[in-house]
């Protein structure tokens, strides 16, 4: 069996086991669980049941919040602020969708973000592992990471343009940099915080360095990496609009910039909302992956 395989564990099986234990309290199969088992098991069982009810409540609250927000926006727009009203934005969205502009922009932006983000994390994970595993490499790499972390990716753009020209390369590069820096630090943190006892346990069970790395360090740092990826994705999106300032012909950031020239507020709103929704969807996807891959974690 693959140790990194997502563990389909959570609530159901907890309930099953708790139930099994309760059904069979005197059979002596679990004789070493006196009062403690119930005390310890009770809250777990409750925690397993709660989310279903809680999640429903949360969704309702989320929906209410969104509606209130839109309502507030509408009221502000109607009362003279320089804002487009929701219907104006919706109709502009309709136009942009029907003439294919929005799809083209989304495709262009998504391509940049995904390529930059994928390259960034693909580079960050091995580098983070190497830094965490070998002190020498950490000493060599860390100053550069710390240095570049203090420079906002946006400040790199002029340099990137001069060196790489004005095509896709500098845009993807700054997104790559943003994602890389966020993820590399998280991965490194994950590796150095792997419980020593687990490594020792693997060693006394006959595991060599390679096995320890693949079967202990990698799974143990997965939660950190996934958090790093989520932060990296946020940085990647945050960098996108600025990256598309560079002689772009397409893209949500470009569209927003362009609309600014024409004082075209509804288009700006459509662009902003699209970026927000896409970012949210991608974050949810990562969150889902995180739940699946790190369901084994004990949460408070």
């Amino acid at each position: 069996m693959d140790p990194t395989r997502p563990q389909k564990e959570p609530p159901m099986s907890v309930l099953d086991q708790q139930g099994a234990e309760e059904r069979d309290p005197v059979a002596g199969k679990t004789p070493d669980e006196p009062a403690g088992a119930d005390a310890g098991g009770g809250p777990k069982a409750v925690r397993g049941r709660e989310p279903a009810r809680r999640r429903g409540l949360f969704l309702v609250l989320n929906a209410v919040s969104v509606l209130l927000g839109i309502g507030l926006w509408w009221v502000l727009a109607a009362s003279g602020f320089t804002l487009p009203t929701p219907p104006q934005v919706v109709s502009r969205a309709g136009t942009l969708i029907s003439n294919g502009t929005l799809a083209g922009d989304v495709r262009a932006s998504l391509t940049r973000v995904l390529i930059g983000f994928a390259l960034g994390t693909a580079a960050a994970v091995p580098v983070g592992f190497l830094m965490g595993w070998y002190d020498i490499l950490r000493g060599l790499i860390e100053p550069w990471i710390q240095f570049f972390r203090t420079i906002p990716p946006l400040a790199i753009i002029p340099l990137a343009v001069v060196i790489m020209g004005i095509d896709e390369t500098p845009k993807i590069f700054v997104i790559f940099l943003a994602a890389f820096l966020a993820c590399v630090v998280a991965t490194y943190q994950g590796v150095v915080s792997v419980d020593r006892t687990l490594i020792n346990a693997a060693r006394v069970l006959g595991a060599g360095d390679l096995t320890i790395f693949a079967r202990v360090v990698v799974p143990a740092s997965t939660p950190f990496i996934l958090v790093g990826m989520r932060v990296g994705l946020g940085s990647a999106w945050a960098t996108l609009v600025a990256a598309e300032l560079i002689a772009a012909q397409k893209g949500l950031g470009y569209r927003i910039q362009n609309a600014q020239l024409y004082y075209d507020l509804p288009t700006i709103f459509v662009g902003l909302i699209s970026i927000g929704i896409l970012g949210l969807l991608m974050d949810r996807a990562l969150l889902l992956a995180e739940r699946r891959l790190t369901g084994w974690q004990e949460r408070r």
């Binding site: 069996m1 099986s13 070493d32 088992a37 777990k44 060693r203 084994w296």
Partner: protein, 270 residues
């Protein structure tokens, strides 16, 4: 007992750690022989180096001076003939009970089918068969430690090194696990070095109790327990047990003035 026949032989082992500018002597010329199939407990105050001693035997640390032999050969790193059970269970939280038990079998290259059946056997031995596919987070402390015991047993070590394995458990669970451990041990005798800070536990389990002293860590006293004694509740409540416990208790808690051994003022705790 001569060193040649000893299963485990610790010879003049000294271990020092540098703590800033100071040198801390965790073990000071400790010598100790353990015979095959012997169940030895080590008890002592914190800082007496009992965990260091275990780590050296496990191959996780190297002595500063002296040497540790297992089956007559110097210890140089961990080996499959020495199983280790840690106080914090050290189960891999992302693996199920079964996968945890199979871990050592995978690293030593046992083929899949045999792995499966051996894991099954040891999971049953510790009574976790209904939890074989559960993740550690769903298990109680006692069940986790039983899983760790099954995992150590599965690779079939001839020596078990246990570092306060029941230290984090409540008293009732602890007594149960002690009895289970002895039961397992009596069916399938291995050499056990069991570290504890609990005097009762040390006396109940052992053929021989080794009392260590701190600053510097050293062997302070050795108390034999008749191996023929049956370890059950009767023994636990017997005058023989009480006498042994008194003896060990004094050895552990009255080390300063080395003459204090039979001091009636501070007898057994209740």
């Amino acid at each position: 007992m001569t060193t040649e026949t000893a299963k485990i032989s610790v010879q003049d082992v000294t271990k020092t750690f540098e703590l800033g500018r100071e040198t801390f002597t965790a073990l000071d010329r400790v010598s100790l022989d353990i015979a095959d199939h012997e169940f030895v407990t080590v008890v002592g105050p914190s800082g007496c180096g009992k965990s260091t001693l275990m780590n050296i035997l496990a191959g996780l640390e190297t002595p500063t001076a002296g040497r540790a032999l297992v089956d007559g050969a110097p210890v140089s790193g961990p080996g499959p003939e020495r199983g280790v059970i840690f106080q914090q269970y050290a189960l891999f939280p992302w693996l199920t009970v079964r996968q945890n038990v199979e871990f050592g079998l995978r690293t030593t290259g046992v083929p899949k089918r045999e792995r499966r059946s051996r894991a099954e056997y040891f999971i049953e031995l510790v009574g976790l068969e209904r939890f074989a596919d559960a993740l550690p987070k769903t298990l109680s402390g006692g069940m986790r430690q039983r899983c760790a015991i099954a995992r150590a047993y599965a690779v079939d070590p001839s020596i078990l090194l246990m570092d306060e394995p029941f230290g984090a458990l409540d008293a009732l669970t602890r007594v149960k696990l002690q009895e289970q451990l002895l039961h397992t041990w009596s069916r399938d005798k291995r050499t056990v070095l069991f570290i504890t800070h609990d005097v009762d536990e040390a006396v109940f389990l052992a053929n021989r109790v080794i009392v260590m002293a701190a600053r510097p860590g050293r062997v302070y006293d050795v108390i034999d327990v008749d191996p023929a004694t049956e370890r059950n509740e009767e023994f636990r409540l017997s005058p023989q047990f009480a006498a042994l416990r008194n003896r060990v208790w004094h050895s552990v808690y009255h080390q300063e003035g080395r003459t204090a051994v039979p001091s009636p003022s501070a007898s057994a705790r209740s």
